[in-house]
């Protein structure tokens, strides 16, 4: 596969522009492929990929090259000789954009780019032309050749337009030539390229993220936001509430329709709830996030990449960090080490190659990402003497699948007590939410007097609520609760050390 890009910029102004956010996701989707230069490209290998840019526009330097370097991908730049360092005023339909100058082209070559030839003037060269015109359009001037000693072996047809006479000329000067979407996947002098647009996704798999919840209203918002703000967004997020008696569902509903919500009419318990959740989702890969925990921003990206790259691996597991008011207590019990810099955060590591089997030691935590096909093959979650996740992962491995470690602390695992201290954080967040409502409703300009008055009354109620929340936090009772909870955790620590 050969990809064709033109401009990369924070706003997609026309179909020829791709934003850095989309470009990043498209590049991420190539991680399981082998990205090569055209010189190494084997068109018959479906696992190979080439990234090409036509133009070449100067915005690539700021908005595409750092992303390409981040992934360590080589890339091909098809330059139009006469446009170097110029603007695109001739292109009256497209918004203004400048072409890279020689200095920028050199920097791009140093960053892993290779220069190729896209003619001198970007003219359509159909039919017969004089030798002079072919020389001018197809022969790369010496001063440009020196910009890239490894480049200029490949040719890009201007506007993708070509015929047999042009191809015959191109044969004389180049190792191969690239067309656009109507090219041939295997013909080296007419290679097909896939034009990439803002909405193009190249992923070979989909991810379902499930947030099971039972009375974790205080923490739900943090868990959901950590799921929504992933560097690689999951294809679906299912929030499944197992008949909570607190405000869990109310908080979750604020995030619809970005998340889907399922509320059980009666409490099913962990195993039945998990089974139901998986059956309600469709992704090729599945992972659970406890409603009291949070994913680091790159959780989905890192786990998905492992499953995309290694077809024999069914489970991607990770290390995790422990936080929260009971983290110290739990850390000593599970031999997690203190974070080298940050107090009250602990790091739990798991082995890449465990000494003992999964039956003896569970090194795969319950939030690990797994393949649906392996889950189904193993018969899903069921009740046994082992915890539900340990039992599932043991059966998947027994079936011959591999588990692979993602060597990062990307799950943030909360260790909390039922203390009131959690309420403080959640009140703080609740205030932020209420204030955002006030802000929103104040800016609604409603011509109808009755609605306007209703609106004003609601705003007043909200303001009173936020005031009450703040007052609670200022009260001596509140402070006393906090001090008491600190005493209690100290006491816990003290008792453990005895």
């Amino acid at each position: 596969m050969i990809l064709l890009y033109h401009k990369v910029y924070p706003e997609a102004k026309t179909i020829w522009w791709v934003t850095p956010d989309s470009f990043y996701l498209q590049m991420l989707d190539l991680k399981s492929k082998k990205v090569v230069y055209l010189d190494e490209y084997d068109p018959s290998d479906p696992n190979q990929c080439v990234i090409t840019f036509d133009g070449v526009y100067s915005n690539l330097w700021k908005y595409a090259v750092p992303i390409l370097q981040h992934f360590g991908y080589p890339f091909e730049l098809f330059i139009v000789g006469s446009s170097i360092g110029q603007g695109n005023e001739f292109d009256t339909i497209e918004p203004y954009s400048s072409f890279a100058d020689k200095e920028t082209l050199s920097k791009m070559v140093a960053a892993g780019g290779r220069l190729q030839w896209h003619t001198w003037s970007h003219s359509v060269l159909l039919g017969e032309h004089s030798e002079e015109i072919y020389q001018r359009e197809l022969v790369v001037p010496r001063d440009l050749l020196s910009l890239d000693p490894n480049g200029f072996k490949w040719f890009g047809f201007p506007h993708g337009r070509r015929d047999e006479s042009l191809k015959a000329q191109v044969h004389k000067y180049f190792r191969g030539a690239l067309a656009c979407d109507d090219g041939d996947p295997l013909d080296v002098y007419d290679l097909q390229r896939t034009t990439v647009y803002e909405n193009t996704r190249l992923s070979i798999s989909t991810v379902s993220l499930i947030i099971p919840c039972y009375n974790y209203g205080h923490f739900v918002a943090e868990a959901i936001e950590s799921a929504l703000l992933q560097t690689y967004p999951p294809d679906e997020i299912l929030f499944i509430d197992d008949a909570s008696s607190d405000n869990s569902v109310e908080v979750a509903k604020r995030y619809e329709p970005k998340i889907r919500i399922e509320v059980n009419s009666r409490n099913l318990g962990v195993v039945e709830n998990f089974k139901k959740a998986v059956s309600l989702t469709n992704g090729d890969y599945v992972c659970f996030l406890g409603a009291d925990n949070r994913f680091r921003g790159d959780y989905i990206e890192k786990c998905k990449s492992v499953l995309d790259t290694y077809p024999e691996v069914a489970i991607a597991y990770t290390h995790f960090s422990l936080f929260g008011d009971r983290a110290a207590v739990v850390a000593s019990a599970m031999s997690a080490k203190p974070h080298p810099k940050i107090p009250n955060i602990f790091l739990k590591e798991f082995p890449a190659t465990p000494d003992v089997g999964i039956h003896k030691q569970n090194y795969i935590h319950g939030s690990s990402m797994y393949r649906r096909i392996a889950y189904e093959q193993a018969g899903g979650y069921y009740s046994s003497s082992l915890p539900e996740d340990h039992s599932l992962f043991s059966r998947i491995i027994e079936n011959g699948w591999k588990a692979r470690l993602v060597d990062n602390y990307i799950l943030e695992y909360r260790q909390h007590s039922k203390d009131q201290i959690n309420l403080l954080k959640s009140l703080e967040f609740e205030n932020a939410y209420l204030r955002s409502l006030i802000y929103k409703y104040q800016s609604i300009d409603n011509p109808e007097q009755s609605l306007f008055e209703q609106n004003q009354q609601l705003i007043k109620q909200l303001q009173l609520l936020t005031q009450e929340n703040s007052d609670i936090k200022k009260s001596n009772t509140w402070k006393a609760i906090q001090i008491l909870s600190k005493f209690r955790s100290l006491l816990n620590l003290h008792n453990r050390s005895k």
Partner: protein
Amino acid sequence: MIQSKDELENWYSDGDPWKYFDNPQDTMRKARILSAIPQFDYEDVLDIGCGNGFLTNSLPGKQIIGIEISEKAVQWANEHAVPNAHYLCGSLFDLPDLNLPHMDLIVITGVLYPQYIAESIRLVYILIDQLLKPGGILVCSHIYEWYKARFPYLTVSREYFAYREYSQVLEVYCK
């Protein structure tokens, strides 16, 4: 639409266009940000999109650099700089071209909004990661309603507080 540089230059014709220095809300915001920064001995510190240096001049650190797109703001900030701070002209996207040292602490406040970065937050993660030392601290404070980011680092703390007619979300990360 991304706000143009000309528009920002125009805005910074006033040395303190956001009225940070007169507003008790901003004094409080500054105090909250400063108290959230973990207490380490920081050598190199960077404030990205520092405006007139309202927060920058109070940051801990041996050498403090403030980056701001508006030349006028940079000039004003340099005239009012504390001895260990200096200010450079450049946008977030110019960071790789500025040849900056690797940082122990990076602060970014009121910058990661659509009018400045549009759809490029994933690029921003990379640009900041290139500059932050392993184990380095990143502090972000933004208006909650306008901010859609989560850095791929360990969350040290996240707090919300009232600010003008909005809420701020103040995050501390460790790389």
